[in-house]
Symmetry: C2
Subunit: 327 residues, 2 copies
């Protein structure tokens, strides 16, 4: 099943829509739940009804469906109560820490890194990324995320996997110029992690077929930067799987329905797969050429993030953002 | 004006109530806004109507008012989209860093420390604090917080003060035993900052009269631990005022209506004022006696946090929590 949130001027949570598997058709499902956040809060009650609509939409039985125009959709989940972003790709941690001459944590392979990120308003998937100052070092980070049902404190990694309702893609916008000072002060990221964008559509894990296994999405995450290939790292190379990330997040708190858990920037050890953020590419340039040559994002730069099935069908719709000056 | 949120089994945002100045009477205001979060989202439209009800409630003109039973109220704001917790009392930073042998940040007096905290479900003001493991080092932190209207990215400290709709008290529950490892890993607090509780009632700044000035609440914050005096530090001793904390939080993001900005643990240089958390008291014991003698919170320990006007009237209601075993 695929779901999306139609933008609405008065309803900040958007309006719940069911989206056809091929992403061409949509139909409002607000009679089942007004918005996706409410749907996830009542997932065990509403998901079968939504699944029925999905089947009918795919088979052409729904009369009041409409053609999908991605511009009319907000992020699959327009806002939520928690965005806990992990960093589960070890290659990414190694490269970005090298870039800022920071030591690797001693618990690199045993305890997930995780921070709490902005989630009060996600940028729409085709909304511009605001830039107040080029010196902030605007970067993208292509990630996979999962949206949870209510998940109790102390959940095990295995039980945690059963709490996953939906899967999304994330562009975790990062301001590299602000990170060193924030981390030096000791409280972690805050200003350096502004509003992110999610994919237009969220999908149930079964939509990924056999590519959803062991709590990971075993598919390449496609990244194009300024209309050119940038990366296609496989998201299956997560060191910690999503159940482990969720269990980490839930160690000392209940995770309320709608909580979003991010994988961290998808990165593979095989550098022929490219990168999913500029910081990694810059570090590789530093290693290979003595200095980075790719600047951080300037006004007008574009980033595209999407994922395809083995049959080359777009699964989540595309995040397609342009940097613009913040007034 | 004073507002509260009546608990409701189906409505996670609670039901909006206006509370009398003396905290004895309440009346539902759900015909104006269903809940406090929605009220803050529409503050400029609804606050005068709520103020009218408040005046009538205080003068005894409201027939369907009811007697306040704090057990029936959730935290003033039961959940919200952002809790950005600052650390604006320099004395607190000095003491807790001393306790863990951590250096003071170079920007101690120029850049506020701030992290993003759990806000998907605040504990009710009289709800137990769950403890999974005594070794987690459960502590309380008594704070003041402000709830914002929509606040744009890049707001100045002066403009930011105009965005404050309501003031609350906070018990920012902290797990001291988990902090050193989290900070060493470099991503800041996550597991070490579980669900906090807010005061039963939120009040508009004008309720504080001349004690609200320069973006600070110039009143002692009363803290009792296990039924004995623990602290009465004046919250006016904030190094950064709330406008500065808000501007810091809004440097790279819009702050959506309902965002909660915390002051950090209230602490005074005058140690006769006691402390607002166990970590400070333990550090003072270490300094004075060579070792800390007050343990972190055990099952059954109680914490009370409230604030009184100069006329000794309770302003926000009382946070009164007991530690219990988490099942």
């Amino acid at each position: 099943m695929k779901l999306g949130s139609l933008k609405h001027s008065q309803k900040k949570n958007g309006e719940l829509c069911v989206i056809s598997r091929d992403l061409t058709k949509a139909v409002k499902a607000t009679h089942i739940a007004p918005d996706l956040l409410t749907a996830v809060e009542n997932w065990d009650k509403v998901s079968s009804d939504l699944g029925l609509i999905y089947a009918q939409l795919n088979s052409g039985e729904i009369k009041d469906s409409f053609v999908v125009n991605v511009e009319e959709f907000s992020s699959a989940l327009p806002r939520t109560w928690l965005f806990a972003d992990g960093s589960a790709f070890i290659q990414h941690i190694k490269l970005v820490r090298k870039a800022r001459n920071a030591a690797l944590p001693e618990t690199l392979l045993t305890v997930p890194l995780m921070y709490q990120a902005e989630c009060g308003h996600f940028l729409a998937p085709t909304e511009s990324i605001p830039q107040r100052d080029f010196a902030h070092g605007t970067d993208f980070e292509a990630e996979v995320g999962v949206i949870l049902k209510d998940t109790p404190m102390g959940v095990s990694p295995e039980e945690a996997l059963k709490k996953i309702a939906l899967v999304v893609l994330i562009n975790d916008v990062s301001l590299r110029g602000l990170i060193p000072d924030e981390l030096a002060a000791g409280f972690g990221f805050f200003q350096s992690k502004p509003s992110s964008a999610l994919s237009p559509f969220a999908v149930t894990p079964d939509e990924l077929g056999s590519n959803w296994k062991n709590g990971r999405v075993h598919l390449p995450l496609q990244v194009r930067y300024n209309k050119e290939f940038f990366g296609c790292a496989n998201a299956g190379e997560m060191h910690f799987h999503f159940g482990e990330l969720i269990a980490h997040a839930a160690k000392t708190r209940d995770l309320v329905a709608g909580s979003l858990i991010g994988s961290g920037t998808v990165a593979n050890e095989d550098t022929s797969k490219g990168s999913s953020c500029l910081a990694e590419k810059r570090t590789l340039e530093q290693i290979n050429n003595g200095k980075p040559s790719t600047p951080f994002m300037k006004v007008g730069d574009t980033i595209e993030i999407w994922m395809e099935s083995p049959e080359q069908k777009n699964i989540f719709g595309k995040i397609y953002q342009t940097v613009k000056v913040h007034p």
